[in-house]
Structure formats: structure tokens, C-alpha cells
Symmetry: C2
Subunit: 235 residues, 2 copies
């Protein structure tokens, strides 16, 4: 709608942006990864009122000349120093009173990153000295604002999309083993899957290319490495 001010504006003789109420608008980013077979989210600790001492989803204001997604990418880079990460808009939260200071409308995105990238690019607490940490989505601390709802909703969406998209690959490096892929599915769905059925299903879609190489790790049989073929559909 770019302003489908059709109603509001059509009736006004002249349009001046400052004539209308203007809430603050922020972008928050739910940054997810899989660490130690656990689904984790990056949270920052609040230092001041409101919700001092509670943990929050990182976010910030939108610049006037950047898109919503660009604001989310910028926020992600400030928090993790990573760019080019998978990002998707989740939902917009805007109840009056969700922030006690003023009316704030927040467009929430979620990002999925391969945890290998985190090790090489450690979390810094953005530009300020605030504390940041990776928390299990299944064991969260006290959260600020309506951030518990946001994380609930994120998990729902992630589970839904896992079934009919290839979103799961975003949590893995370019090359991965089938066991690693299965672990991603298991931690998101929060249940064990049958190895044979999982492999048959995922291989039957032809979205995986066998690299011919293997991953040697630990004292056991090496695992084949696969690559995601982006020229395909479904998992």
C-alpha cells in the first residue's frame, strides 16, 4: 500500500506527513543457529529500563533510505559481523503498550546461520558493551517486551516452512553429511526421525548432489558429503 492512504488521504485536501500520528518503527532480528544439537537464538541483555536485566532480541531503528530487509541485514551484521545470510520477514508486532516508553511498531525478521560461521566470527555485542549470548529456544531466560511471543511464533513458522521448503539447508555449511542434515530437522521438529526413512525421502527429491568426498571425523566410518542443488524443489 504504499500508503493506501487512499482513505485517509483522499479525504484530506492536502497531504502532509506530519499531520498523521507517527509511531516509532524498528526492525528486530531473531538470529538462529544450531549449536551442539540444540536450536539457539542470539539474545542481548538489557542494561536499562524498561526490562533492565532481561534478555531481548536484537534490533534497531530503520534508516529513512533503507529497505526493511536492508535494515535487518545491517542489524545482523552489527551483531554477528556476518553478511549475505538467509533472512525472512516473520511478522509485525505493534500493540500499543508493548513498549512502556512510546508506541513502537516492530517488523521482525529471522535469520538462519550455519554455526560454523559463528566460530570464525564471534559474537560481539554490537557497538555497545551489552552482553550477548546464544540461548536454547527450548530453555529461555526472562525476556523483555513481548519477545517470548515473538520467539514462539518464530519456532512455529520455522517448523511450518521446514516441511515444504529447503530452508533447513540454511543452517548448514555448503557441504554436509546426511546425519548433520537430519540433526537439523530433529532439533527444529524436536523429535527423533528414522534414519532410513529420512535418507530415502531427502534423496528422492534430487536436491542433493553427492560431492564424492567424505567427512572423516572421529573413529568410525566416514560420511559422504553432499551439496545442496539450488536448482530444485522441496524437501
Amino acid at each position: 500500500m504504499a500508503t493506501s492512504d487512499t482513505t485517509a488521504e483522499e479525504s484530506a485536501a492536502t497531504y502532509r506527513a506530519e499531520d498523521y500520528p507517527r509511531p516509532s518503527v524498528t526492525v528486530d532480528v531473531v538470529i538462529l543457529t544450531v549449536i551442539d544439537a540444540d536450536l539457539r537464538v542470539l539474545l542481548v541483555k538489557r542494561g536499562r529500563w524498561p526490562y533492565a536485566g532481561h534478555w531481548a532480541i536484537p534490533g534497531g531503528f530503520i534508516n529513512m533510505d533503507e529497505s526493511l530487509e536492508a535494515a535487518a541485514q545491517r542489524e545482523l551484521k552489527e551483531e554477528t559481523n556476518l553478511s549475505g545470510i538467509y533472512l525472512e520477514q516473520l511478522y509485525t508486532f505493534g500493540n500499543p503498550g508493548r513498549d512502556p516508553r512510546t508506541r513502537v511498531i516492530t517488523v521482525v525478521y529471522y535469520a538462519l546461520i550455519d554455526s560454523a560461521l559463528i566460530a570464525s566470527s564471534p559474537v560481539r555485542a554490537a557497538d555497545d558493551a551489552a552482553e550477548a549470548a546464544w540461548y536454547s529456544l527450548y530453555d529461555l531466560p526472562a525476556l523483555a517486551f513481548d519477545h517470548d511471543q515473538i520467539l514462539d511464533y518464530t519456532l512455529q513458522r520455522l517448523r511450518g516452512k521446514l516441511e515444504y521448503t529447503t530452508i533447513g539447508f540454511q543452517l548448514l555449511p555448503d557441504e554436509f553429511t546426511l546425519s548433520e542434515l537430519q540433526a537439523v530437522y530433529e532439533v527444529i521438529q524436536h523429535r527423533r526421525l528414522d534414519k532410513r526413512n529420512f535418507r530415502r525421502k531427502v534423496l528422492s527429491t534430487n536436491i542433493l548432489q553427492d560431492t564424492g568426498r567424505t567427512k572423516m571425523e572421529g573413529s568410525h566410518r566416514p560420511a559422504r558429503l553432499y551439496r545442496f542443488d539450488p536448482a530444485a524443489r522441496q524437501v
Copy 2:
């Protein structure tokens, strides 16, 4: 979210809303119904620059003390005089430049209404004299702003949700025949469905109650009337 000004604010010594850029925020509502076995959307004709003469999705500004959904309900009521209608948040559009006047971020909702309600409560062009009309989603006029994208996305979402929710019932009156229900599915999916398979599937879910009554209409066998049982799952 709620100001996850964590980043932006945490670093600022004091927080004053007016220190940050504030785009305009509007709510637009894609109002859908099924008329004459066609999926239609309510559009309003723009009278002035920008996009004078183009058609637009109705929308308006958010009051400072109302929720996003309440703003959408208010907008819906202004356009159709209906309340208590099924509404769902679709997506938030906010590219700079989508409105040539100023930076506008629009939270888009979509509404599904039973076309019987329209007849009894005819469309009025909100509070102004603008023209309003129901257009087929499959045959749209020239649209203002990025509204063509918004309608594309609405259709995608509606198709997706039709498969795993009971959203389809929102387009029908309380009591309806199976043929009417099938017609809703056909027009949204834009393909013919097999009558026997459709009936078996929908009845197997036990979300339909047979009212015991029938609908007599035209010179042919009367059709059983069913009611949606909200205490159930899936279609």
C-alpha cells in the same frame, strides 16, 4: 521489537522518540470475497497524484492507541460497514520509494468475507466520494504503488493456508452446501476438483456437521446444508 532498541537505544545515553527517523505507517486491507464463482478484491480508485486514476487497496493511518489489527478492522468497517470479519496479517511492505511522497511502511492485512454479507451491506467508498469496486483477482486493472505485488502475495498465502487450515469457511455463510464449499476451493486454487474425492476428504475430517436441512434452489435435487464445527482441525 518493542523497541529492540536494544542496540540503538542502549548506546544512546537517553531515549527520545523524536531523535529517530520516523516513517509514516499505514495499514492496508485486502478485502476478498467470492462472487459469481470468481475471487474478487475490493479496490478504490485514486483521485489524485500519485497514481491518479489507478486502483488501490484501501488503507489508512494507524491511530496511536489502537493495535494494528484494530486499525485493519476499522478500515474494513469504513469500506464495507462490516465488523467481526476474519482478518489476518499478510506482510509488511516498506521499500523506500514505493510511495513517491514520503517513506511509507504499510502493514497489510487480508480479510475474507461471505459475499452474502456484501449484498446486505453494500460497498460505500468510505467517508469520501471515491469510487470502489470488486475486481477479479484474475483480471486486475492498473494498480497504484506496489499493490500488484501485494495481491500476488495475498493469493499465494491464501492458497497455502487453504491446504492446512479451515480458512476457506470464512468465505461462506454459516450454513452451506458441499458444492458451494468446493467452488470456494476451486476458485482459490484456480482448477477443477473431483467431486467425489473432495467430498470424501472434507467429510473425513469431521469438521462438518450435517444440519439435517437442505437448500432448495433451482429445478434439481436439493443439497444438504452443513455447518462448520469450530471444535476441529484441518481441511
